[in-house]
């Protein structure tokens, strides 16, 4: 990644460049340099002086080959396009079931189960304020609830990403449903989307937290359990999206994500697991902002760095371990409440960046996300956007189509250097776990959020309809209240929940929770004391989500957020 200009004996190059420079300088109002969100200076023109074919094999290579810049599979989107993974969740399990069916009918190929915030925070439906129940996701607490979520849907056929923070009770409930339906666990495929507890501490979110040391232990137990029982499941998704939505620049978000992945890989290796076995199951999840080329460069640079990290730091020999598989979501922070239909254009641009960045799975935001929880119409447009980009615009015809662009290759190299500099900072702080305990990444992203907001406030960064091109008489869509779940349906659900608890075998539940508590207090790695195995057993025995979370909160402590305004 040297910045040495390539020697080019191109006839006429020097004089043509000098002439252009003079013409350019004469026409441009030079008021300081341009920088992207990651702070890299952006020149007005890139040529073969910045990046030349001599670097091809070192920087790019071929798709599916080292250094992976051009994509992790030989055929990339030409062979198999990305998975359309839309978030769904609202109301009762029946509501979720209906919405999932709508998404599948509209061409979606996988669903993400988004539970209610009460579930995220580790509570059952009878532990939180009624008005909040089901407003942001589905209320799923028991094996019966999970069964209803997937009524008439084959759980062995669907890739079921579950937005399931530690201690992964929703996956446990899904496995209990599989047992009930006699579906082999080997057919359960998907991802634990919110397994990245470190990201929950870095960017405050709505997730249940076990104190950091306990979280560290349960995650490794979860990976070990999945390795043994769920060959089609990705136990870890490292979430750069939280960091970037929380304010990290694209380069910082990539760096902190890679540092987090390094931490998890080290923790698994310390437990005695083989990197060539667990690394192929690592997946990533990124935010795609509207900073178009920067995002493409971020994703390409991240892919190149990951293969180097796994080979150099973990000695990974399995080519599957070198693959940087990621899901991406268009950035909600870039969407505006003003002139909300403009968001459809923003989401399309973000999605194109993600596609050119080589994603494996994509969520496009609904344009009205910034107004409220998305409507079904907006959710349909979000899916249509993906269909248009893929099938009308032919974005998938050519693999990594922007490769070789003087600008993009230079930027990819520069982003890589920027990302490496942040990784070095975290390494110097003792790795990601220690850095988070000390509040370093929290401070970093808070500062970056502030810097960006100041650029918006000063007009240095344009946001159409917000700080420029405002319309005097704002033609807003009709004021819409929050879509609230049917209160009588929710009350019926609560009654059903209480009946479930009353009718189950209390002795079996108590025994399972006692076993779980004992495992939580055993030394990590003690044979027969895998905490996650006990979570799955408890869920199968009829323990509720809230009971399992309460047990671990009691035994391992609650993870208080670091308060950093």
């Amino acid at each position: 990644m040297s910045e040495q200009p390539v020697q080019l004996p191109l006839p006429g190059f020097e004089s043509a460049r000098a002439e252009w420079r003079q013409d350019y300088d004469g026409r441009i109002d030079r008021d300081g340099s341009l920088r992207n969100r990651s702070g890299i200076e952006i020149k007005p023109l890139y040529t073969c002086e910045d990046w030349a074919e001599e670097r091809y094999m070192e920087d790019l290579g071929f798709p599916g080959q080292l250094p992976m810049t051009r994509g992790i599979y030989p055929s990339m989107h030409r062979g198999r396009t990305w998975t359309q993974r839309q978030l769904v969740g609202f109301g009762t399990p029946e509501d979720y079931n209906q919405r999932l069916k709508t998404i599948l009918a509209a061409g979606g190929t996988a669903g993400s189960l988004i539970p209610c915030n009460s579930v995220y925070r580790g509570y059952d439906c009878d532990e939180v304020e009624l008005p909040l129940l089901g407003t942001c996701g589905a209320v799923v607490n028991t094996v019966d609830d999970m069964d209803l979520c997937y009524r008439d849907i084959g759980i062995g056929e669907l890739s079921t990403a579950v937005n399931d923070p530690l201690p992964f009770t929703l996956l446990a409930l899904l496995l209990a449903v599989a047992k009930r339906r006699d579906v082999s666990w080997s057919r359960i495929t998907g991802t634990s989307n919110q397994s990245d507890y470190i990201s929950h501490f870095v960017a405050n979110h709505m997730f249940f937290r076990i104190a950091l040391p306990g979280s560290r232990r349960v995650l490794v137990d979860h990976v070990a359990f999945c390795q043994e029982h769920l060959p089609g499941w990705n136990p870890i998704s490292v979430v750069g999206q939280h960091m970037q939505q929380g304010g990290a620049t694209p380069a910082e978000a990539m760096a902190l994500t890679l540092c987090t992945a390094i931490q998890y890989a080290e923790d698994c290796r310390t437990r005695g697991m083989d990197p060539d076995v667990f690394l192929p199951r690592f997946t990533f999840f990124f935010d795609i902002s509207i900073s178009f080329f920067e995002e493409i460069a971020k994703l390409r640079a991240g892919r190149r760095l990951w293969q180097r990290i796994v080979r150099e730091r973990f000695g990974a020999k399995n080519p599957k371990a070198w693959r940087f598989k990621f899901h991406a979501q268009t950035s909600g922070v870039d969407l505006t409440r003003q002139q909300p239909l403009n968001n459809i254009a923003r989401v399309a641009v973000q999605a194109v960046a993600g596609i050119f960045g080589g994603l494996q799975s994509l969520h496009t935001d609904a344009y009205d996300e910034v107004l409220s929880v998305p409507t079904e119409e907006a959710a349909r447009i979000a899916i249509a956007t993906q269909n248009i980009l893929r099938e009308e615009a032919h974005l998938t015809d050519v693999i990594d189509p922007l490769a070789g662009s003087y600008y993009l290759e230079t930027l990819t190299n520069q982003m890589e250097q920027e990302i490496e500099a942040t990784i070095a900072r975290i390494d110097a702080a003792g790795g990601m776990f220690a850095a988070v305990e000390a509040g370093l990444p929290q401070d970093m992203i808070g500062k970056s959020a502030r810097v960006f907001q100041e650029k918006v406030d000063s007009g240095q960064e344009t946001i159409v309809g917000v700080n420029k091109y405002r319309e005097a008489e704002e033609p807003t869509t009709a004021p819409r209240p929050l879509e609230r779940p049917d209160q009588s349906a929710m009350e019926a659900h609560l009654a059903r929940f209480r009946a479930f608890k009353a009718e189950r075998s209390q002795a079996a539940v108590t025994a399972a929770l006692d076993t779980l508590a004992r495992a939580a207090n055993a030394a990590p790695g003690t044979p027969g004391q895998n905490v996650y195995e006990k979570v799955v057993e408890a869920a199968t025995a009829g323990a509720t989500h809230g009971e399992i979370c309460a047990c671990l909160r009691r035994e391992l402590g609650f993870g208080q957020p670091l308060v950093m305004p």
Partner: protein
């Protein structure tokens, strides 16, 4: 100086917090910094505060304004917060909310006594000026009451 004089001469005291279940705090961190930079005394809490905890803190810290950030439907609890403040004799304390709050819910919040709702894109100057103005109102009300 009398208590009233002390109260009216000091900088506005503002509690910036999040109630309910959600933790997204990018917005509340930035707003807290804005207000602090404008010379106000800001008390900032972790997310996930219970309403009783907010009321207790408002008393202990003698705040003029409470700013509640909501990004994931927690604004639905604001009427309960307003009632709890009233019951605790904190009727003078002004309350503003900000975040993802649907237009259609705004009127309901204002009816419940919330003084102002900010949305994404609300200008910094507007937020600072409004909070400052409301703090002055709160102190005047408290001094007269």
């Amino acid at each position: 100086m009398t208590d009233t004089a002390k109260r009216t001469s000091r900088p506005p005291r503002v509690l910036v917090t999040k109630i309910g279940l959600d933790g997204h705090d990018r917005g509340s961190r930035i707003v807290a910094a804005y207000l602090r930079d404008a010379g106000m005394e800001v008390i900032y809490t972790a997310p996930w505060q219970k309403i009783e905890a907010v009321v207790k803190l408002a008393v202990e810290e003698d705040v003029d304004v409470i700013g509640v950030s909501s990004l994931a439907t927690d604004h639905l609890l604001l009427p309960d917060l307003m009632a709890a403040l009233g019951a605790a004799g904190l009727g003078h304390v002004r309350v503003v909310a900000g975040g993802i709050i649907p237009d259609g819910d705004e009127a309901e919040l204002l009816r419940a006594g919330v003084n102002r709702v900010f949305h994404p894109g609300s200008p910094r100057e507007d937020i600072v000026a409004t909070v400052s103005h409301l703090a002055a109102q709160a102190r005047a009300t408290c001094a007269n009451g």
